[in-house]
Every structure is written in C-alpha cells, then in structure tokens.
C-alpha cells in the first residue's frame, strides 16, 4: 500500500462481499420458490425476495465501485485521499441505510413501507430496481455526492491520468442518471423512458466506464505494460461504449408505445454494443501477453481476464441473442432475459469487483506480493466453481426461456403461464443446483482469505 488513505477501501470491499453472499442467498431462496411455490409462504413472498435480491446487487456493486475507487485514486493521483474521514463516514451512513432498507423490505409490507417513508410527498417507489423508499434514495444521493466530492478533490490536487478521468466521468454519470429515479411521470410510457434513463444508462453506459477504468488500473499493476498503451485501449473501449450504449437505450423502447423508429435505432446500435466487450477481451489478453512483469498475485490477472471473457459472453453474446426487435418481440420478459441479466451482471460487474479485491485486498492486509500460493490455489478453485455455476445457471435459465417462448409465444397452440412454468420445473431444479454451486464457490472464495500464510513465503 503506497498511501495510508487507501486503507479506507477495506471495509467497502468486505461489506460488498457480505452483501454478495446475501444476494446469492436470497437468489437461492427464489430459485427454490420457482420449484415449490409455497416455500416460505407467507413469511417472505417472491416479490419481496426478488426486490431484496436485485437491490442487494445494486448496493453491493456501489460498495465495490466505491472501494475500488478509494483504493485506486490515491495511487493514480499520487496523493493521499482528500478526506479519508469522509470516506469512512460515508461508509457507515451507506451501510446503515442499506441494512435498514433491506430490513424494511423484509419486515414491513411494501404498501405500508411507502406510507411510512413519505412516498406520498414525492412518489418514487414501486418501480423495478428503484424500489428504495424516499429517505434511502435521498441518502444514496448524499452518499454518492460526498463520495464524488472526495474523489474529485483528490483528483484535482493530484496527478491526472486517463484512468481517473474515465472513472470520474463514469461516476458523474452514475450520480446524474440516478436523479431520474426521482421523476415518475403519470404517463406509463414516459415513466418507462425515464426509468430506463437510470437503469440502462447505468449498466450499459456509465458503469462500463467504471469497469474499463478499474480493469485498466489492475492490468497496469499486474502486467507492467506502459500506461500509454493501456490508455489507448481504454479510450477506444469507452468511445465505443458511449456511442453504442447511449443509443442502445433504444432496445428497451420496443413495443412499449414508443415510435417505431426505435426498433431500428435500438436494434442497430445495440448490435454494436458487444464490441466494446470484445475489445476488452483483446485488451486483457494482449496486455497479459505483452506483460513486462510477472506479478506474484496471479489471481488478479486471472480475474481480470475472466471479467473480460464473462462480460463479453454475458452482456455481449447473451444480450445480442435477443436485442434485435423482431427477436425481442418473442423473447421479451422471459427467462432468457433473466439469463442475460444474471451472466452480464456477474461477468461484467461482480467479477470486476472480484478482480479489484483480489488485487487490492492482499496488499491492504500487508501482503504486497499477493496471497500465498496455497491461498491462490483455493481462490482459483473458487474462480472456477463460481464461473461454472454461473454459466450452468445461465444455460438453464436460457433453456427455461426457450421453452417458455415455445409454450407461450410461438405457434397457435399456446398454453397458460402456470402450465408453462410447470413444464419448466425440471429445468428450474437444475438452475437451483447451479445456484448452490455459485454459493459454494463464494464460500470457497471466503475461505481463501483465511488460508494461513506459509512461513517460507515471507
């Protein structure tokens, strides 16, 4: 660790991992509810589990991004963080608000929660992924603003690099686009537009910048490749991300009452969206090939390469499957969408956080050369278990989606939703099995933190 203020990243990383465990756990419970609908009835209904599952994902990614930023920015700017104290306060405020919100979801009926949290003053609740009560939403804005202030002030007083510029742009976008969560037009179509301005422009535009910046940072550190070389790749990736990602919002406007031209704009621009991810693969593997140093922390590079590959498959390939308007007409809202959602969030965002944690955490724990060989071996096993689990889960969900499409959307002899779900029950079993595997992978990953350092290693 070069700068003492980098240490503030540690609680962020740890909390992100705890939230990830929670997220997967709630996902597993839902996976079981898909098989036995009465499971946990009437304690926790499916809609609450789903809300907790997706909200935990968003919050864990925010914690991960924040931790990554606090670790990376001092090193990039070659100066201490502007205010480590603010970073710690932000952490506790955000953690407390996050936990309170999740507990609210679990123990208070949602309708009652809206009344308790002043939703009548400014109605913002009830929209997928943006279910947070008003005080939580305001809290998120305050936390993100103070975080942005901290990072921006650090960047201003220190060295400016392409990585920090790209990262800051992404973070600024993250903050700005969240503001659309506060605007809920009465018109349902307008509502959808503004909802996507947050949801899509987060995950398919600004977050990709954050992802690119973190990936570039780790690659510089573990491969020793020249910064100019990395910068050029980063520019290329973000240019392509922005052009395809912003117009790509159009692929959400199909058949929702928006004008027909969105079918074309959405289809064509989002057909290009996989390319930045393909470039990321080329980027990671070229840098690994041309590396000038062999870092002892081999797992960090493994995660980095894994992020590029899984991000491309999950976001790029699985997205492309159903992004063209004529295809999407049949696939929309089926388990195929869920398949894409799972692998893209995991491949692109959860894995970049693993990448950063795998690189930074050993250093934060006083192991500049990475964990010992044995710990890395355990981590490598967890890498494969989680990846195989996620791919299996995605394939199962895709199969479920295809059956759903054939059952309910293609041809003339169509069957009802529940009947179709029954025909997929077997596949849901397989899905739940792979879900368990992912969780086992995560536990293995946790275990790697507790593997004792070998004395000869020091």
């Amino acid at each position: 660790m070069k700068y003492t203020s980098q240490a503030v990243a540690k609680p962020y990383f740890i909390f992100a991992l705890i939230l990830l465990a929670g997220e997967i756990l709630f996902g597993l419970l839902m996976g079981i509810q898909y098989i036995w609908g009465d499971f946990l009835f009437p304690l926790i209904p499916f809609n609450v589990l789903r809300m907790v599952h997706t909200n935990l994902l968003i919050v864990l990614l925010l914690f991960g991004f924040m931790g990554a930023t606090y670790y990376l920015v001092p090193e990039e700017t070659e100066t201490e963080l502007w205010s480590p104290k603010l970073a710690i306060i932000t952490f506790w405020v955000f953690a407390a608000a996050g936990v309170a919100t999740i507990l609210g979801y679990l123990f208070v009926p949602y309708a009652e929660l809206t009344e308790l949290t002043f939703n009548n003053l400014l109605p913002t609740m009830g929209r997928e992924f943006l279910e947070q009560p008003l005080p939580t939403k305001v809290g998120i804005v305050i936390v993100v603003l103070s975080y942005l202030l901290n990072v921006t002030m650090t960047v201003i007083k220190g060295r400016k690099t392409v990585i920090t510029t790209v990262l800051l742009t992404g973070l600024l976008g993250l903050a700005v686009f969240f503001l659309f969560a506060f605007y809920v037009p009465d018109n349902l179509i307008m509502d959808k537009f503004f909802w996507w301005f947050t949801v899509h422009l987060w995950v398919e535009a600004t977050w990709e910048l954050i992802l690119g910046a973190i990936l570039a940072f780790v690659l510089i550190k573990v491969t020793g490749v020249d910064r100019e070389h990395i910068d050029k790749w980063l520019y290329l990736i973000i240019a392509m991300t922005m052009v395809s990602g912003i117009l790509g919002t159009g692929h959400h406007f199909f058949y929702m009452g928006a004008p027909e031209y969105w079918l074309w704009i959405g289809s064509i621009s989002s057909a290009v969206e996989p390319l930045p991810f393909l470039l990321m693969i080329l980027f990671a593997f070229t840098m690994a090939r041309d590396r000038k140093i062999k870092h002892d922390n081999e797992m960090a590079l493994t995660w980095a390469k894994g992020t590029a590959v899984m991000g491309f498959i999950g976001a790029g390939v699985w997205g492309f499957f159903h992004t063209l308007a004529p295809v999407n007409m049949f696939t929309h809202g089926t388990q195929l969408t869920a398949a894409h959602g799972h692998l893209s969030f995991y491949g692109a965002y959860v894995m970049i956080i693993f990448t950063m944690i795998s690189y930074a955490m050993p250093i934060l724990r006083g192991r500049p050369h990475g964990n010992c060989k044995k710990a890395q071996k355990v981590e490598l096993a967890s890498f494969w278990i989680m990846n195989i689990g996620m791919v299996g889960l995605t394939l199962a969900l895709s199969a479920a989606g295809i059956v759903q499409i054939l059952d309910q959307r293609v041809g003339t002899e169509l069957i009802g939703f529940m009947e179709s779900q029954e025909s997929i029950a077997g596949i849901y079993m397989i899905r739940a099995g792979f879900g368990v595997l992912v969780f086992a992978g995560l536990l293995t990953y946790f275990y790697s933190f507790f593997v004792k350092e070998e004395p000869q290693q020091a």
Binding site: K232, L236, M240, P259, E260, W264, I265, I268, A271, V272
Partner: protein, 199 residues
C-alpha cells in the same frame, strides 16, 4: 530505431485503433443500408414517391464537395509523408494549406446539409413520417455528425501543422485523422446514390 518503426507500421496508415473504429462504423452503416434496402423492397412505391421530395442537386453538390475534400486530404498527407529533415517547415505549411481547403469543404457540406434539413423539417417531416424518411433522417443525421467530427479532427491536425508539429518520422496522428475523413467520404459515396438516386 524510429525509422524502423515507421517502416514497419506503414500499413495500415495511421493508428491501428482508428481501423477498429472505421470497421465498426462501416458495419453500423452497413446495417442501416441493409435495413433501408430490405424495407424498400416491401414499400417500393412509397420509397420512390418520398425520394422525389429530396433535393438531388444539393446531394450531388455535396458528393462533389466531399470527394474534392478527400483529394485535398490526400495532397496534405502526401506533403507530410514526403517530408525530409530539411523541409519540415515547408511541408507542414503545405499540408496546412491543403487541410484548410479540406476543412472549408467540410464546412460547405455541413451548411448545404443543414439547409436541406431545414427544408425537410419545414415540411413537417419527422422520423415517424414514414419508413423512407426514418432511414433518410437516421442515415443523413448520423453521417452529418460524422462530417462534423471529421472536420473537428482535421482542424486539430491543421493546428498542429501550423506549429510545424509533424516530423519526418512522426506523422501517425495525421494519417489517423485522414483515414477517418476518407471513411466519412466513402460512406457518403454509398449513401448518396442509395438514398437520393436509386429508384
């Protein structure tokens, strides 16, 4: 050392990254061209009738303007690639002169195109008017933005030539910008006949 690098990287001209961008742009436009062609097949009459509302003359003038601008860019590139250590100043100045002509062409294209857009929008035509105009607007507005960006790129190169910033072994950035400009020109050469002429 630097000489060997220049020789090694003569092809493709410019930075490798620009070629990735060029191919992505070409693919994107190709998708739109294909979309246009297939949509036209099922609405031939509507496409032909709508096409009559376009101003072919201004389209043709713009074609000539862009081809000419590409010629100027070629002359500018030739000025720097044939540069010797003794002729750095003259070569940069010569290149800047050709670039200025090219930029003026770019601006002329933009002005003519803008007047065309004003005329089209004045008639109340929007993306939703019909499929022909949807494609016309998507393609031409998208291309317009490329000409705008291309002109800005050329202007930045122009500024560097003014301070004699290109060297006999360092003109990669120049070629990068020039390659982009040629792509913009090439796209229009396909776009113009496809949308304005072919019936």
């Amino acid at each position: 050392m630097s000489k060997s690098i220049t020789v090694k990287e003569k092809y493709p001209p410019g930075d490798f990254a620009i070629w990735i961008i060029i191919y992505v742009e070409l693919v994107t436009f190709a998708l739109l061209f294909l979309g246009y062609a297939f949509s036209r097949r099922s609405h031939i009459e509507m496409f032909n009738d709508s096409q009559l509302l376009l101003n072919q003359t201004s389209g043709f003038i713009n074609t000539l303007i862009l081809i000419t601008s590409s010629y100027f860019v070629v002359k500018a590139v030739k000025s720097v690639t044939s540069m010797t250590k003794e002729s750095i100043k003259e070569s940069n100045l010569r290149a800047s002169k050709w670039l200025l002509y090219a930029i003026m062409c770019g601006i002329a294209f933009l002005v003519i195109k803008l007047s065309e857009f004003i005329h089209i929008f004045g008639q109340g035509i929007t993306l939703s008017t019909n499929k022909f105009f949807m494609f016309y607007l998507l393609l031409t507005v998208f291309h317009f933005m490329h000409v705008l960006l291309g002109s800005i790129i050329l202007f930045n190169i122009y500024k560097k030539t003014k301070i004699h910033g290109y060297m006999p072994d360092d003109y990669k950035g120049f070629e990068t910008g020039a390659s982009y400009w040629h792509m913009v020109d090439l796209l229009w050469i396909v776009l113009f006949p496809l949308v304005y002429i072919i019936r």
